[in-house]
């Protein structure tokens, strides 16, 4: 077990596990955390997992971990690892089973106070139009050739079919379509799972949440993002559903042989990887991008369903409310991306593995649309259920210190079993309803597992990344309605 004594303090918000800590480490680990958060982090095996991740061939710079980090499988959740392109490796487990799990934020000019009387209707319609929960199918069923188009085109497919606007695409990471996706490298089994799941939320910690912009910290950036204090916004958290899970399962299995072929020794079989320029690496990259595009399309269809729920709810109370929901941004927090970063003074093309970490590009980055060039990228940080969520902005500092990345949420501290033991779902629902939060949940035990007591304090996580300079505050959001499986 790694303890605080094994870490070198860089500043009040940054720590290092030196490369000398274990002989098989290829780079050091850099951790963004306060001492208080660190004390929570050392309670599980996440630091050991970060050290394991630091053994991958071709790593450059540091393995970076965020203050919301917690134990995962293979990589810890909250990790960023960059490998040199093309000879470095790509690791499917370092991206995760829910490929392109991410967050989308839609903003409105509907004042929360004026909408209060209609929140029950809105929550009910959102629950009806956005299927969530165990085994629920999506709103669209497609055949395999159509699914392959979805996997190649992502949100562009949704645009062609009337489910998206040009602005939605401009306000999505990679424009909602990662190039060089290869559906031919996605198994038939993955395709079978994906065919009936477009436009579904899934279960676990995935949700749709209506929130109010409670506090604006940076009025100029908030204006650019379309966020108005006191107005409603909607957050979607979900990913590539069974299709992505199957792609990762297939390649983790297949790469068990690849590591033997390429003579790669690893401390954990879940970290299996292959050089990006190998046939195995190329196949996985093509399949992973196809699954990522599927996830973009999934969140886009959900956004379309959410707009329908809003229109129907507010059409009942007068035309002045019927304003389309504006997409602030859509981010991936489980992904592998080929990007260029400065490492030890050199510009390098790398594959950035973000496993529970959000891209946080700073101002002036060519990957951002013109309207966000001066602000930096919106960084969407959902909190635990019933607590605050945050909109942050990417900074120049994040480009230099964390491969243009920041935190992705609050981060768990308590197991699901313990949460269920300590919290009754029904009590939690009543407590949230008492605070004016409408809850539509398919399972009360699922609700208990997501109890805020099971998570770190999202405000403390956000304070840490902002104090460290890898993001800055734009607005804090307070929940009004939660829809989950």
């Amino acid at each position: 077990m790694i303890g605080i004594q094994d870490l070198k303090k860089i500043s009040d918000h940054e720590w290092e596990i030196p490369q000398s800590f274990r002989p098989d480490m290829r780079v050091p680990v850099r951790l963004f955390a306060t001492r208080e958060l660190l004390e929570q982090i050392v309670g599980d095996k996440s630091l050991e997992q970060a050290v394991n991740a630091a053994t991958l061939p071709g790593l450059v710079g540091h393995v970076v971990v965020m203050p919301d980090m917690h134990q995962g499988y293979g990589f810890p959740i909250g990790a960023v690892a960059a490998t040199e392109f093309p000879q470095g490796v790509v690791s499917p487990g370092g991206i995760g089973y829910d490929i392109n799990c991410g967050v989308r934020l839609l903003a409105s000019s509907i004042e929360a106070e004026a909408a209060a009387a209609h929140m029950n209707t809105l929550a009910t319609l959102l629950n009806q139009y956005c299927p969530s929960g165990v085994g629920k199918e999506g709103v669209l069923h497609v055949n395999v050739p159509e699914l392959e188009r979805v996997m190649r085109e992502g949100s562009r497919w949704a645009l062609k079919n009337g489910y998206a606007s040009e602005t939605d695409l401009a306000h999505t990471e990679e424009g909602g379509c990662i190039e060089n996706a290869n559906p031919a490298k996605v198994s038939d089994r993955a395709k079978q799972r994906g065919r009936e799941q477009i436009g579904s939320v899934g279960a676990g910690n995935h949700f749709i949440e209506v929130e109010v912009v409670e506090v604006v910290f940076d009025p100029e950036t908030a204006l650019a993002y379309g966020l108005r204090e006191g107005c409603l916004v909607v957050q979607i958290h979900c990913g590539s559903r069974g299709l992505g899970h199957q792609v990762c399962t297939d390649y983790v299995q297949e790469f068990q042989g690849a590591v033997r072929r390429y003579g790669i020794e690893l401390p954990d079989r879940e970290l299996v990887c292959a050089p990006m320029d190998s046939p195995e690496g190329q196949a996985y990259l093509g399949a992973m991008r196809a699954a990522a595009n599927f996830a973009f399309a999934n969140r886009q269809i959900l956004a379309h369903s959410i707009r329908r729920a809003f229109e129907e709810t507010f059409a009942r109370v007068g035309a002045r409310y019927i304003v389309p929901l504006h997409q602030v941004y859509d981010i991936c927090h489980n992904i592998g991306k080929i990007e260029t970063h400065e490492v030890h003074g050199n510009r390098l093309k790398v594959c950035v593995h973000r496993k529970g970490a959000t891209r946080a590009f700073g101002p002036g980055n060519p990957g951002l649309p013109p309207e966000y060039q001066h602000t930096g990228q919106p960084v969407l940080v959902p909190g635990s259920m019933g607590t605050a969520s945050w909109v942050l902005a990417g900074t120049e500092e994040s480009m230099l210190r964390s491969f243009g990345s920041s935190c992705h949420g609050a981060g768990r501290t308590m197991s699901r079993a313990k949460a269920k033991h300590e919290v009754r779902g029904e009590d939690l629902r009543r407590e949230m309803e008492g605070r004016g939060i409408r809850v539509r949940a398919g399972s009360m035990s699922g609700l208990a597992e997501e109890a805020p007591q099971a998570y770190k304090d999202v405000d403390a996580v956000v304070e840490t990344v902002c104090a460290a300079g890898i993001a800055r505050k734009v607005a804090r959001l307070r929940p009004l309605a939660v829809v989950k499986g």
Binding site: Y97, G135, T249, Q256, S415, S443
Partner: protein, 140 residues
């Protein structure tokens, strides 16, 4: 029950043990069903037994038993999600690098939780005093 949940911050971890390798695989499947709370549709006319039942054979080949275990449990994850089937009455034959399973499946009546995937995280089948033992981490 020859399985128990192990503390994990975010996902599910299951420790399984059995006298022999064949039984270890069967217990792992039963443990996974217990974790998800998968229950078959019951045939009232036949006295509350699962039904209608489909019989299925699953075969796999891999370099080591851990990979066979992941393949087998992943097959059950797929069947639950895509075909809405839950399996029991496992007859398992593990022979180093090959696996044969015969099992009965019934339509799922209800399930509390979905498993996204079966991981290889720290997956080692070990010989212990109890016979064979393994800890499996599921992504949920």
């Amino acid at each position: 029950m020859p399985y128990e949940e192990v503390q994990h911050t975010a996902d599910w971890s299951l420790r399984v043990w059995a006298a022999n390798m064949n039984e270890l695989f069967a217990e792992a499947a039963r443990g996974m069903n217990a974790l998800t709370g998968a229950r078959p549709v019951l045939d009232v006319a036949e006295g509350q037994v699962p039904g209608p039942v489909t019989h299925r054979a699953f075969e796999a080949a891999a370099p080591d038993p851990e990979s066979l275990l992941v393949s087998f449990l992943s097959e059950l994850v797929f069947a639950a999600e895509h075909e809405h089937l839950v399996f029991e009455n496992f007859e398992v034959e593990v022979d180093g690098q090959t696996l044969k399973v015969e099992m009965d499946g019934a339509l799922l009546a209800s399930v509390n939780k979905t498993i996204k995937a079966v991981t290889y995280h720290n997956l080692h089948i070990q010989r212990t005093e109890r016979g064979y033992e393994v800890e499996i981490v599921f992504d949920v």
